[in-house]
């Protein structure tokens, strides 16, 4: 609108500077240096970034479109395995395997999406679980390709760069952290643009009232399919990065309980009402899991209690605790 173009440069700049996204990026920029003080380590930071990408992408369908998918672990797994298979058997590099992983997850998502896009609520959730279990069985049983129970080992973090121009090694965990960090920035910006676009508004209208959305002219099954497929692309990317982090791909990541973990991150952090919720959720989930599991083997019990406390006391997610003052500035799917 005209307000935007007529805005003085100063205030436009200050608006960018005040953008919550920059604070998130700044935080993760320095995270590896103060993680040790919090009892963490860089590896954990990479995990937070990867699961944040996964959760933010999934939130396109869960938070913005209102469809609870418990099956995105399948596409995360597809990303992990395809990266491994392509890197080990087809081409020894980084970009091609990464792109192949994203493409494969997107394609699988598009096919599964055809079956789930007409469903909603519990039926949608159950169908996504069923599909993810099918993927899990395949990954688990197809020994010759996926390594079956033992997983696909020997995946390498090879140097990345532009051939002939430069090349940077990412074998060290710190270098790999910043490699994932750059991808994380790209994903956050991209997802932010998508959910705040006209398309994002369409998805929200479907979330809040799908009957009315149909009656104003949206082919909602088509939009749900697009949103589903799109979120699978991010799942595939996250899965590929996870395979690089672990130097291996295992079939356990495809299990539907892992998909449940990401949903927990979204709800825990407040993804249903805030764009950045999934990042906080991923951070809290992973750091606490690490912390509790070193204290007691019954860490799941503490975890369950914590989750229940969040649902009872801050049902809109942890971010709402920090959000009170800045509520108007941070836009996301309204609660």
């Amino acid at each position: 609108m005209t307000e935007l173009t007529e805005e003085p440069v100063n205030s436009a700049v200050s608006r960018v500077v005040r953008h919550p996204m920059l604070w998130v990026f700044a935080l993760f920029l320095v995270l590896p240096y103060f993680l040790p003080f919090l009892g963490g380590y860089t590896y954990l930071g990479v995990e937070v970034l990867i699961w944040s990408i996964f959760a933010l992408g999934l939130n396109i369908i869960v938070g913005y479109t209102g469809l609870p998918s418990f099956g995105h672990g399948a596409f995360f797994g597809v990303g992990a395995f395809v990266l491994g298979i392509v890197q080990l058997r087809v081409t020894h590099g980084m970009w091609v395997p990464l792109l192949a992983a994203i493409l494969a997850a997107t394609l699988c998502g598009a096919v599964v999406g055809l079956f789930v896009a007409k469903k909603r609520g519990i039926y949608f959730a159950l169908l996504t679980i069923a599909f993810s279990q099918m993927f899990w069985f395949v990954a688990w049983g197809w020994d010759s390709v996926t390594g079956g129970e033992g997983g696909l080992l020997g995946i390498n973090r090879l140097p990345v760069g532009i051939p002939g121009l430069f090349s940077v090694g990412i074998d060290s965990i710190l270098h790999f952290y910043y490699f994932v960090y750059l991808i994380f920035i790209a994903c956050v910006v991209l997802i932010w643009i998508i959910v705040h676009s006209p398309f994002g508004r369409t998805l929200q209208s479907i979330r809040y009232n799908d009957t009315r959305a149909r009656c104003i002219g949206y082919n909602i099954a088509f939009y749900k399919w697009i949103a589903f497929t799109l979120s699978c692309a991010f799942s595939g990317l996250a899965g590929a990065l996870y395979a690089l982090l672990r130097n291996a791909a295992f079939s356990d990541v495809l299990h539907w309980t892992r998909s449940g973990d990401v949903i927990l991150m979204i709800i825990l952090g407040g993804g249903m009402s805030n764009f950045f919720g999934p990042i906080l959720g991923a951070g809290v989930f992973i750091v606490l899991r690490d912390l509790f599991s070193t204290i007691t083997e019954h860490w799941l019990l503490i975890y369950g209690l914590l989750f229940m406390a969040v649902i009872i006391f801050v049902p809109e997610g942890l971010l709402t605790i920090f959000q009170r003052r800045t509520r108007r500035k941070v836009t996301g799917p309204e609660k």
Partner: protein, 248 residues
Amino acid sequence: MEILTTQNLSKHFGGLVAVNDVSLKVTEGCLTSLIGPNGAGKTTLFNLLTGLMKPDEGRIHFQQVDITAYPPHRIVKEGVARSFQIVNIFGELTLLENVRVAVQAQKGHGLEMFASVNSSSFHEVNEQAAAIVKATGLGGKERTIAKNLSYGDKRLLEIAIALASKPRLLLMDEPTSGLASRETGKMREFIQNLAKELTILLIEHDMNIVLSISDHIAVLHQGRVIAEGGPDAIRRNADVQEAYLGGL
């Protein structure tokens, strides 16, 4: 000229016949009202016309196009929009956003992923949404979250969303239901003004409104059309008095 015709339209729910062999004609430029006691099948008929339900028998033609098998979103594109009896808005979005998302659908911008809703290419959508909000008398409340609006404003928003689809035929399902008498008067005036530019098919319980503003009235009873005609003819019709007016 007829803009909408139904031929022998029927819809059953198990043993219940909700709409029974209804053949209806809506003339372009006219305000046609559909009256009948509760459970007469009026809303079911609307659901059939808008594609939310499929008829068991019969055909629906809109501007000579057979839309019987069309899904709701295609019927809207053809030019049939509706407002609902029970407020059916996007409660969590702002008032302006409610209308904007409908204008965006009408203009075919719904799939744009990499544009900003504030960009210049979206200017037209924003302008049009703002204009509809003003024309509906909701100006100044653009930023209010829809669920926090007063009931009367929600009813207006209900219609504003339907208008954003730029319909040639507007189906209105009891726009005055639940309104206080002063608001009812305003709504009646509003419908009369709309009828100057639009063909309207109206479901309404308030007989004073129906008899005073309609060009044509169809009376539905137990799923059947039992009478049709102008307001005066309907007022005099003995069957109608029996079934609906209670010997008025």
